[in-house]
C-alpha cells in the first residue's frame, strides 16, 4: 500500500507538471482532441479525392487496404480521443440540455392535420398511379414517390430533423378507423421479433422482386402492407401492432432518436443530435428483441450494398449452380448475415463484463448500448441515398404534375464530382457519433472514470469491424444483383 501511495505521489507530481505544460487538464483537452480529429479527417480525406478505392486518377492511387485501414483508424483514434472527456457533468449536460420549442403543441396539432392529409393523399396517389400510370419506373410517379421522396428523402428527414412519421402515417390512420379491440394476447417472448422478421422480409422482397422498378408489384406490396396494418391493429391492438409488429414505424422511431427535434408529452423540444438515443425504451418488450431490431436496421442497410458486389456473386454462384433458387440463396444470406451481426454484437456485450469489469448482465449491457448503433445505420443511409435523391428529385417533381401522362424522359440532375465524397464521409460521421453516444452512455451506466472507458473496448472493436465492412462495400464495384 505504502509503495503504491509513493508511486501515486510520483504520478501526481508528474501530472502537475504536465498540467502546467498543457494548460488546464480536463474537458478542454477533449475539445482540442476533437479539433485534432477533424484535422485528421481532412488530412486523410484526399485519399478519396486522388482516386477512390479501385479508381486511379493520374499517377496517385490509394489501394483499398489503405482506404479501409484509414476508416478503421479514424474510429480507433476517435475512441482514444473521447477517453479524454471524463467530466461527468459535461457528459450529463449533453443528454439533459433541452430547449422547448415555442408553441410545440400547436405545431404538432397542425402538423398532424396537414401531415395526415398529405400522407393519405400520397397513399391514394401511389395506389392509383401504380396501377394506372406508365409501366416504366423512371416515369411512374408511384415508384418515384415511394423510393425517392419517401424512402430516400423522408427517411433522411427523420434522423436529420425529427420523426414526422406519426403525423404522416396513412396506414395507422386507416387502422384507427376500426375499433381497438386487442382481443388477442401476444406472449411476452414474442417481443419485437415480428418487426425484425418484417424488416428483413421487406428488404429481401426489395432485392429479389421488381418492387423497386415495377409499379404494379410496388402497388401490390403497399396494398398488402395497408391491409396488414388495418387487420393487425384491429386484431392485436394498435399500440401492440405499432410497437412490436410494424417494421416501418419502428425504423422511423429509431432514426428519429438521432434527430435534434424530439416529441415530448405535449409538445416538442430541441436536443443535441444523438442525445435522445438514451431514451430508447430498451426494456419495453424483451431486451433480446429490442437489440435484435437495432441490429436488423444496421444489417439491412449493409445487405442492400452487399448483394450488389462481385464478392456475393462469387459466393452465390456455386450454390445456385447446385440448383438452389436464387431467391432462396438471398434469403439464406440475409439470415446468415443477420445472425453474424447479432452474434458479434452480443458477444461484445458479454465481453464488457470482463473489460469493465462489471456484474451487469449481458442482455442489459447489450440493450443499453445497442441504440448507439443507430447513427451508423443513418450514416449508411445518407451516404447511399443522397446522390440518388438529388439525381431523381426533378423527375419526381415533373411526374407529380402529370402522373398519368408524364414526359417520355423526365429530367434527372447531373451530379458534380464531389458527390463521391458523401458516402465515405457520412459513413465515418455516423460511426463517430456512435462512438460518442456509446461513451456517454457508459458514463451513465458505470462507476468512476476508467470503468466506463474500459467497458468500451469490445464495442470499439466491433465498430472498427463495422466501419471496415461498410467502407469495403463502398469500395466494391457495383453490379446488378445476380441470379434473380
Amino acid at each position: 500500500m505504502s509503495v503504491h501511495r509513493q508511486g501515486a505521489t510520483a504520478v501526481a507530481r508528474l501530472r502537475e507538471y504536465a498540467g502546467r505544460l498543457a494548460g488546464r487538464y480536463g474537458p478542454s483537452t477533449g475539445r482540442r482532441g476533437l479539433l485534432t480529429l477533424a484535422a485528421l479527417v481532412v488530412l486523410t480525406a484526399p485519399a478519396r479525392a486522388h482516386g477512390g478505392p479501385g479508381i486511379s486518377s493520374g499517377n496517385v492511387d490509394t489501394p483499398t487496404w489503405l482506404f479501409l485501414m484509414t476508416g478503421g483508424g479514424v474510429i480507433a483514434v476517435s475512441f482514444l480521443l473521447t477517453s479524454f472527456v471524463t467530466d461527468r457533468e459535461l457528459i450529463s449536460d449533453y443528454h439533459e440540455r433541452r430547449v422547448p420549442v415555442p408553441n410545440g403543441e400547436a405545431v404538432r396539432r397542425w402538423g398532424g392535420r396537414i401531415g395526415g392529409a398529405l400522407g393519405l393523399l400520397g397513399l391514394v396517389a401511389v395506389l392509383v398511379v401504380g396501377v394506372a400510370g406508365p409501366p416504366q419506373a423512371g416515369r411512374n410517379f408511384a415508384v418515384l414517390f415511394v423510393w425517392v421522396v419517401w424512402w430516400a428523402g423522408f427517411t433522411a428527414s427523420t434522423y436529420l430533423v425529427g420523426n414526422g412519421w406519426p403525423a404522416l402515417d396513412p396506414f395507422g390512420r386507416l387502422a384507427a378507423l376500426l375499433p381497438d379491440r386487442s382481443g388477442v394476447d401476444v406472449p411476452d417472448w414474442v417481443g419485437r421479433w415480428p418487426a425484425v422478421a418484417g424488416l428483413l422480409l421487406l428488404v429481401w422482397l426489395e432485392v429479389v422482386t421488381e418492387v423497386a422498378s415495377d409499379p404494379r408489384q410496388l402497388t401490390a406490396v403497399v396494398a398488402v402492407y395497408a391491409v396488414a396494418t388495418v387487420a393487425g391493429g384491429a386484431l392485436l391492438g394498435h399500440e401492440t401492432w405499432r410497437r412490436q409488429f410494424d417494421p416501418v414505424a419502428g425504423v422511423f422511431d429509431l432514426y428519429g432518436r438521432v434527430a435534434p427535434i424530439q416529441r415530448t408529452d405535449d409538445g416538442l423540444e430541441l436536443v443535441i443530435p444523438g442525445a435522445a438515443l438514451t431514451e430508447v425504451e430498451a426494456g419495453r418488450t424483451t431486451r433480446e428483441s429490442e437489440v435484435g431490431f437495432v441490429i436488423a436496421l444496421l444489417w439491412v442497410t449493409t445487405f442492400d450494398g452487399f448483394v450488389a458486389t462481385p464478392t456475393w456473386q462469387a459466393i452465390a454462384a456455386p450454390i445456385v449452380r447446385l440448383g438452389l433458387p436464387g431467391e432462396l440463396a438471398y434469403f439464406a444470406a440475409m439470415l446468415v448475415g443477420y445472425a453474424l451481426f447479432f452474434g458479434v454484437f452480443w458477444g461484445a456485450s458479454k465481453r464488457v463484463r470482463t473489460s469493465g469489469p462489471t456484474y451487469r448482465a449481458a442482455p442489459h449491457v447489450a440493450a443499453a448500448f445497442a441504440p448507439a448503433l443507430v447513427p451508423i445505420a443513418a450514416g449508411y443511409h445518407f451516404g447511399h441515398y443522397l446522390p440518388y435523391l438529388l439525381q431523381q428529385l426533378p423527375a419526381a417533381a415533373v411526374t407529380a404534375a402529370a402522373p398519368l401522362s408524364p414526359p417520355i424522359t423526365p429530367p434527372v440532375l447531373g451530379l458534380p464530382g464531389w458527390i463521391t465524397w458523401v458516402g465515405p464521409i457520412s459513413v465515418l460521421a455516423g460511426h463517430l457519433l456512435a462512438v460518442w453516444v456509446s461513451h456517454s452512455r457508459a458514463f451513465d451506466l458505470f462507476t468512476g472514470k476508467l470503468q466506463p472507458i474500459r467497458s468500451q473496448y469490445p464495442y470499439v472493436f466491433v465498430m472498427v469491424l463495422y466501419t471496415i465492412t461498410g467502407l469495403w462495400l463502398l469500395a466494391q464495384p457495383t453490379i446488378d444483383a445476380p441470379f434473380i
Binding site: 504520478v11 486523410t44 482514444l80 477517453s83 440493450a367 468512476g448 472507458i453
Partner: protein, 91 residues
C-alpha cells in the same frame, strides 16, 4: 437510467462487493467505494467520505497513466498512417 439497481440487471458470480445503501454489486472494492461517493454522497458516513476521497485520488492517478498510454497509442497510429501514406504515394 433505464436499468434499476435490482439484481435482475446483474449476473453475479462469486462474492460481489455490495453497496451498503442500494445493494448494487461491484467486482472490486475500489468501484464500490467510488459508487458510494457518486450515488450516495449526501448520506455516506465520514469514514466512507474519506475512503471515497482516497479512491478518487487513486482513480485520477490511474486515469493519468492511462492517458499517457493513450498518447502513446495515438502517436503510434499517426506514425503508422504517415508511413503507410508516404510509402504508397511515393511508389
Amino acid at each position: 437510467m433505464t436499468d434499476t439497481t435490482t439484481d435482475a440487471a446483474f449476473d453475479i458470480d462469486g462474492d460481489a462487493e455490495r453497496c451498503p445503501y442500494c445493494g448494487r454489486p461491484f467486482a472490486t472494492d475500489h468501484l464500490r467505494t467510488l459508487h458510494v461517493g457518486e450515488a450516495h454522497g449526501e448520506t455516506m458516513t465520514e469514514e466512507e467520505a474519506e475512503r471515497y476521497a482516497d479512491a478518487e485520488d487513486q482513480e485520477s492517478d490511474d486515469l493519468f497513466v492511462f492517458h499517457l498510454k493513450v498518447l502513446g497509442a495515438l502517436s503510434f497510429i499517426m506514425f503508422l498512417f504517415v508511413y503507410s501514406y508516404s510509402f504508397v504515394w511515393s511508389g
